[in-house]
Symmetry: C2
Subunit: 469 residues, 2 copies
């Protein structure tokens, strides 16, 4: 019965969107009871509480425990930790759990996992641990995992499942249905049947919906989808996420260098990659290690943040030594010391605006060699206009504050120079880093704020020296 | 044939991931030819070039044109712009295109679109334009769109498709297959059959894969998935994206306040929302309007960026007036002016680190009332330790640079104070804004950097006045 449903209560358009956490997050009371059960080391109670919960929520609970509690948790509940829970846990914490788990429980958990999840689990492990887990798998699964591991890190080959449902291109719907009904083993989730030629080259696919709706005698070839595209096993996982999002794919066959089918990637994996890449970008832009997690300890957090702050102290010292060049000017006119951070701060902010737009544009592949010149021109124009606008504002404030019209003109000019430099730096630095193969999200921020600090201080204090002293 | 595939070339693990843009982006030569065809106003050539392209790529091309070129493009190619292309174009530009399109082409395009895409197209339109488009739809589609519009903006009700494939809970696989095969109209993409009771309450669902693999006599109830959950039509779209990502859903039935089925949301829509929400977060954190796009004009870009820079100039002036309090101290010891930006800058960077982690934690629902106290404690500890570490570094540098041990101790203390304040501000400000119902990504940045500027200058210059003068 495909039909449209009755209209909702008419007044509802005015009501705000509901944000009732209870609907989809485990209730705080439940979390508290779980904490208590762990504290009391009450295995039975813990089992009762966790039994109805989704593996993803159990994984979140494990992530939120202290390292000590986590050990108790594994003692109490370890036997129940299955492949699904294991695949949901954050990498760093998962490694801890894996070490704590009894070997037989781990082997059992791994046997339940899809090949892509096993790959995700073991790809960062040392050889002996990896071997131990591989040996728990049956021969077919082991081969699939090893095949996947042979592809580069962060490639489509690592992301794919080897289990694909295929059909010869000449089959009819009826033949396909009979085959599926008699097949002992099918992947847990699949959305297409991939048509292959005799050399196992994928040549099209049919959605299950079409298969269900068609007559038995219909040849599969007549039901093929337009959206069909294959992905190289060597493609970068970020590009895979882009392709899924751009072309609204649900699943896509993965091929090797000879265009032979080696696996399939489904949209849920692409969504997870998209999520991770965004997370990485946002954390890198802020100078936070891209593996950072709320459950990290103080030590882990320090390790992630010190490098960025260390870089920043060097650049701050560079800016300070620019100021030191003008000690005499400041001595002569202390107002310079009062005003100079304004010029630097506005430059930093304007630069970050342009930079963020540029980094996002590169990440979403909207900023290309075809339009970069136009974007550079636009940013330069915006920087110049913002410089004139805010330079005039701060020039007027300076005039009224310090009663010094020349000082007002100096800060106006310095602002125009610095916001123009900020705009050009904000777009050119990420474009250059990107061309050099460096992730612009990682390094652009330091470059651009160093630039705007140094140029801001130099332009303001230098002009002041020329004009006022 | 479900099977594992042959292993790839063994040397491949060492090769870097491929980043060959040609694989999935339209070639630059092609884009150039398209530009030339538009310039030459050659409709036939343009049609030839665009014919094999995906709607999403054509939409990208339209977005990248200048407003003038866009008008020419619509004149040349307008008749071919269909519902698919229209749904892919960015909102701002789509509105321009819709205005330019001949009314009959628009009506035809809208008739082809899924109800959720029509909702997306018209939800921000004025009443007369909206009516015009609604009148192009047939009665059933119009009712579906109007029903969806009755739900709040950014709700699941706006995101869903009304077209759902349902089956009575007592049906067998055979009955369902016969029904599907005889149904004239099925949604273009569907992944589950939703089981409903006689009052149209969804009570479970069956994946198409299971339906295909089962015997005809099997009751649907036996094939139900564990992952089944319904979504309230009033739920926030961000929460919908979270639920899909957390529980690996592919599609989920949407229900009204009486738990009656009103539509279905599929993972591709959830993925698009996730993408938009990330984009919003990252742009808001940088103080760039969250609707900003690379194709915006200079005027549009200025309009988005001026408010943030305007806020920043006020906070920079506040910081400057703190410095002005200490003019005498600076006059007495110019080294203070040289060193003070270092304290402020380190505070701003450390604050931004904490802030970004907090904003992300709130967005991903990892930062909850249950663990916020622990995260606050961790951030405070990290802030304190970073303050001591970098305070010691800069204290030593100051001692050697200016030969003034007391000044070194002053800057050490100021750094400890400011990095501790930065850490506390970085976590408490977003938590507070979130509790007040304000998007922490939008406003936290200004609060935190203002705080670290003011505290940085005040602590350093104030301590210097106390200790040195």
């Amino acid at each position: 019965m495909t039909e449209n449903s009755p209209t909702p209560e008419d007044q509802s358009a005015e009501k705000p969107v509901e944000r009732d956490e209870d609907d989809y997050l485990p209730r705080p009371e439940l979390l508290q009871q779980i904490d208590q059960a762990i504290e009391a080391e009450d295995a039975q109670k813990l089992n009762e509480l966790l039994a109805p919960m989704h593996a993803a929520d159990i994984a979140d609970i494990i992530e939120n425990l202290d390292p000590g509690e986590r050990r108790v948790f594994v003692t109490l509940y370890g036997g129940e930790i299955d492949g699904e829970i294991l695949s949901e846990i954050d990498e760093g914490i998962r490694d801890q759990i894996v070490e704590m788990l009894p070997r037989d429980v781990l082997a059992e958990a791994v046997r339940e996992m899809d090949s892509d999840d096993v790959v995700d689990l073991i790809e960062d492990m040392d050889e002996p641990e990896r071997e131990e887990i591989l040996s728990a798998l049956d021969a077919g699964d082991r081969a699939a995992v090893q095949q996947s591991l042979a592809y580069p890190e962060h490639s489509a080959g690592r992301l794919m499942q080897s289990e694909v449902v295929t059909a010869p291109e000449h089959w009819t719907v009826g033949e396909t249905l009979d085959f599926l009904r008699n097949e002992e083993w099918l992947p847990e989730q699949f959305y297409h049947v991939v048509l292959v030629d005799p050399r196992r080259h994928p040549i099209g696919y049919v959605t299950l919906g079409r298969l269900l709706a068609a007559k038995r005698a219909t040849p599969l070839k007549e039901l093929e989808e337009d959206s069909f595209r294959t992905i190289s096993a060597y493609a970068d996982e970020g590009d895979v996420a882009y392709i899924f999002n751009q072309y609204h794919l649900i699943s896509a066959p993965v091929v090797d260098r000879d265009d032979r089918l080696v696996g399939v990637i489904t949209i849920d994996d692409a969504m997870a990659v998209l999520d991770e890449e965004h997370e990485e970008d946002i954390l890198r832009l802020a100078g936070v290690g891209d593996e950072s997690s709320l459950t990290d300890t103080v030590g882990q957090t320090l390790k992630q943040r010190v490098p960025w702050l260390g870089t920043n102290i060097l650049t701050a010292l560079a800016a300070a030594s620019v100021i030191a060049l003008f000690e005499d000017a400041i001595q002569g006119l202390v107002a310079l010391a009062v005003l100079m951070p304004i010029v630097a701060s506005m430059g930093g902010n304007a630069g970050t605006q342009t930079l963020t737009v540029a980094v996002r544009g590169l990440a979403t592949k909207d900023l290309t060699s075809g339009n970069s010149l136009r974007v550079i021109r636009r940013e330069a124009a915006v920087g110049l206009l913002n410089g004139i606008l805010f330079g005039a504002v701060i020039g007027a404030v300076t005039f009224f504050w310090f009663g010094n019209p020349l000082l007002g003109i100096v800060i106006l000019l310095a602002m125009v120079i610095n916001l123009l430099v900020a705009a050009l730096g904000g777009i050119l630095v990420p474009l250059t880093l990107n061309r050099l193969g460096i992730d612009p999200a990682l390094a652009s921020g330091t470059f651009v704020t160093t630039l705007t600090d140094i140029v801001g201080f130099f332009a303001f204090l230098g002009l002041a020296t020329l004009v006022l002293l």
